[in-house]
C-alpha cells in the first residue's frame, strides 16, 4: 500500500490580476484539504477510542469503587496498588487473572490455528471450477454473516444437557459417552467455546484467503505446469508463498479479534463463565461490573493492552523482517 504524492495538478489558470490570490487560496486548500477530510474520522477516534483509553489508564491508578463512580475524579489515587493486586499471583485475584490469561492464550492459539487451516484449505479447494461451487461459497459464509448472538444462542441450545443435539448424538445415538455430558459448565466448556469460535471464525479466513488467491497471477501456475510441477507442488511452491503478505495481516487480525472476543463467551455462558473457559475479556468485565471494582478492572485492561502491544509489535517486526529477507 505505497502511496506517491499526487502530482501537482496542471490547472488552467487565467492570466491576469486574479491569478495571484487564487493561487494562494488554492495552496492553502491543498494543504488543508487532507486534514479537513480526516477531521471527522479523527474526532470520532479521539472521542470513542483514544480519550477513553487515556481515561482508562488514569482510572487504573485510582481506587475506584462504586462509592466514587458518580464523580470518579474524586476517587483517591492508589499508585500502583491496582497493578499490585492484579499481578500478585499468590493471592486469589492475581491467581484467577493468571489462570484466565493462560486459558485465553491456549484458546486463541487453537482457535486462530484452526480457523486459518480450515479457511485456507477451503479457499484452495474452492479455487477450481466444479458444480455447486457458487452455492457452497455462499453457504460457507453463513456463519460469518449471522449475528453473533443468534449463532451462539443456537449453539447454546445444541449444547444443552437434556434436550441438546450434541448429547443426543454422542450419547443416545453413538453411545460414545456413558452418560450425558455437561458442555456449558466444567472442563468441557473449553471445547464448546473453541468449537463455536472456530465455526464462526473460519469463514473470515476463507474470505480473505480467497481474495488473496485471486491476486496470484495465473501465469505463475502455467509456467510451473510447463516445468512439470504437480498440483501439490504448485500449492507448496506458489500458492502458499504468494499468500504470505495476506497471511501476515490475516493471522494478526484473527489473533486480536479472538483474544479480545467478548461476545461469544458472554452469550455462550452468560455472566459467569466456567473456569475452564474463563476468557480474559469476560474475566475483566466480571472483575469490574460484578464486583464493582473499576480500578482493578482498568489495571487489568491496561496490562492486557500492554501484552497485545508487545505481541503485535514483535509479530510485525518478526514477520516483516522475514518478508524483506525473502524478497531479496
Amino acid at each position: 500500500m505505497t502511496t506517491t504524492a499526487l502530482q501537482e495538478p496542471v490547472r488552467k489558470t487565467s492570466p491576469g490580476a486574479a491569478r495571484e490570490p487564487r493561487r494562494r487560496t488554492g495552496r492553502i486548500r491543498r494543504i488543508g484539504l487532507p486534514y479537513l477530510l480526516l477531521l471527522p474520522a479523527l474526532l470520532l477516534e479521539l472521542l470513542v477510542h483514544l480519550v477513553p483509553m487515556v481515561i482508562g489508564i488514569v482510572m487504573s491508578f485510582k481506587e475506584l469503587t462504586q462509592f466514587y463512580i458518580r464523580d470518579w475524579g474524586t476517587a483517591p489515587w492508589s499508585g500502583l496498588g491496582n497493578y499490585q493486586v492484579s499481578v500478585d499471583f499468590d493471592a486469589p485475584v492475581g491467581e484467577a487473572l493468571l489462570h484466565s490469561f493462560f486459558v485465553t492464550v491456549g484458546f486463541t492459539l487453537l482457535s486462530v490455528g484452526l480457523c486459518w487451516l480450515i479457511g485456507t484449505a477451503a479457499a484452495v479447494y474452492m479455487q477450481g471450477t466444479f458444480r455447486g461451487r457458487g452455492l457452497l461459497r455462499a453457504l460457507f459464509l453463513v456463519p460469518y454473516a449471522l449475528p453473533v448472538y443468534a449463532a451462539v444462542i443456537t449453539w447454546v441450545f445444541m449444547f444443552q444437557h437434556d434436550n441438546g443435539l450434541v448429547n443426543h448424538v454422542l450419547h443416545d445415538q453413538l453411545h460414545l459417552t456413558d452418560e450425558r455430558s455437561f458442555w456449558l459448565i466444567g472442563d468441557n466448556s473449553f471445547y464448546a467455546l473453541l468449537t463455536v469460535s472456530v465455526w464462526k471464525g473460519w469463514p473470515f479466513a476463507f474470505l480473505i484467503v480467497m481474495a488473496g488467491l485471486q491476486n496470484i497471477p495465473g501465469e505463475l501456475y502455467e509456467a510451473a505446469a510447463l516445468d512439470g510441477a504437480g498440483m501439490w507442488q504448485q500449492l507448496r511452491r506458489i500458492t502458499l508463498p504468494s499468500l504470505r503478505p495476506v497471511n501476515q495481516v490475516l493471522v494478526l487480525v484473527l489473533f486480536l479479534w479472538t483474544f479480545n472476543d467478548f461476545n461469544t463467551p458472554y452469550v455462550l455462558f452468560g455472566k459467569a463463565a466456567p473456569e475452564a473457559a474463563d476468557l480474559i475479556s469476560v474475566h475483566i468485565y466480571q472483575a469490574s461490573f460484578v464486583t464493582w471494582n473499576f480500578g482493578t478492572g482498568s489495571a487489568m485492561s491496561v496490562l492486557l493492552l500492554l501484552f497485545l502491544l508487545v505481541v503485535t509489535g514483535g509479530y510485525l517486526l518478526f514477520t516483516s523482517r522475514g518478508r524483506r529477507a525473502a524478497d531479496v
Partner: protein
C-alpha cells in the same frame, strides 16, 4: 472466473480429498443452521424433551409468539435505526479519510494510519467504562443525551467499524488509477468533485464491502449494547436474551427469533458477497 489454477485437470488425489473435506465442512457449517430452522418450526414439547432431528409436527406458532413474549418489534426497529445510521455515517467518513490518505502527502499521515489501525488492538473492555463516563459527562454538560440513547450507540458503533473500513478503502482507492482524478481536476472539478464523480463510482465494490462490514458490526455487537441501552433503546443483541431469562426456556421461540433477526443481515450479506470478495481483492489484500 477463469480458472487461475493449472490448465491441467487436477489429479485424482486432489479431487478426492476435496470431496471429503468439503462434505465434512458443509456438515459442520449446516448443522447449527438446520437446528435453528427446524427447531423454530417445532411445537414446545419437541424442544423441551430429548432432541429430535425431525419435528413431530410442524407449527408456525413460535413465529407468532415471539412478538408478544418480548417486544421484539421495538428491538428490531432500534437495531435497524442504530445499524443503519452507523453504517451510512461510517462509510461517508471512511471515504473522506481514505481519500485523503490515498491521494495526498501530508504531515502526520503515517501517525494517523498507524494510530487508527492500532485501535483494533484495544480490548473493548478497556474503554467501556471510560466511554460510559464520557457520555454521561457530555450529557450533564451539554444536555445531549448520549448515554442510553440511540445516538450514543450509533457514535460508538460507527467508530468501531471505521479503522477497518478506512484501511480497506485506502487499498481500494490506491487501485483506482490516479490519471482518472487528475483528468477530472484538469477539467475543472475540485478535489471533492474528483472524489465524488470519479473515485467513488470506480470504488463501488469496495464501498459496498465496507458498508456490509459496518452494518454487521453494529447489528451484532453485544457488550456495549448491554451496558449503554435502556428499555426504550434496547437493541436485538440484548433483547434476544429476554427469552431465556424467563422460567421456561422457549427454545422454539428463541430459534424463531434468532432466525428472524438473522435474515436481514444474512440475505444482504449473501446478495453482496460478490462485492465483498471483489472489494477485499482490490483493497485490503494487496
Amino acid at each position: 472466473m477463469s480458472s487461475p489454477t493449472s490448465p491441467m485437470a487436477p489429479p485424482r488425489s486432489f479431487v478426492w480429498s476435496r470431496r471429503i473435506f468439503l462434505t465434512l465442512l458443509t456438515g459442520f457449517v449446516l448443522i447449527p443452521v438446520y437446528v435453528m430452522v427446524s427447531s423454530s418450526l417445532k411445537p414446545l414439547a419437541d424442544v423441551t424433551g430429548e432432541f429430535r432431528w425431525l419435528p413431530s409436527g410442524l407449527t408456525i406458532r413460535p413465529y407468532i409468539d415471539i412478538w408478544s413474549t418480548v417486544p421484539l418489534a421495538k428491538y428490531f426497529v432500534n437495531s435497524l435505526i442504530v445499524a443503519g445510521a452507523a453504517t451510512v455515517c461510517s462509510v461517508v467518513i471512511a471515504v473522506f479519510a481514505a481519500y485523503a490518505v490515498s491521494r495526498y502527502e501530508f504531515r502526520g499521515k503515517r501517525v494517523f494510519t498507524v494510530t487508527v489501525l492500532s485501535t483494533q488492538m484495544f480490548p473493548g473492555i478497556l474503554f467501556l467504562l471510560p466511554l460510559f463516563l464520557i457520555y454521561v459527562n457530555i450529557g450533564n454538560a451539554t444536555g445531549i443525551a448520549l448515554f442510553g440513547s440511540r445516538g450514543g450507540l450509533i457514535l460508538t458503533y460507527l467508530t468501531f467499524s471505521l479503522p477497518f473500513s478506512i484501511w480497506m478503502l485506502i487499498g481500494y482507492f490506491d487501485s483506482v488509477p490516479r490519471d482518472l482524478d487528475e483528468a477530472a481536476l484538469v477539467d475543472g472539478c475540485g478535489p471533492l468533485g474528483a472524489l465524488l464523480r470519479i473515485v467513488v463510482p470506480a470504488a463501488i465494490p469496495g464501498i459496498v464491502a465496507v458498508a456490509v462490514y459496518a452494518f454487521m458490526t453494529a447489528w451484532g455487537e453485544v457488550l456495549f449494547a448491554s451496558v449503554m441501552t435502556n428499555d426504550a433503546t434496547r437493541t436485538l443483541a440484548v433483547g434476544l436474551q429476554g427469552y431465556s431469562t424467563l422460567n421456561d426456556v422457549y427454545w422454539n421461540q428463541i430459534m424463531a427469533a434468532s432466525l428472524v433477526v438473522s435474515v436481514p443481515v444474512v440475505a444482504g450479506f449473501l446478495l453482496l458477497q460478490r462485492y465483498l470478495v471483489a472489494g477485499l481483492t482490490a483493497g485490503a489484500v494487496k
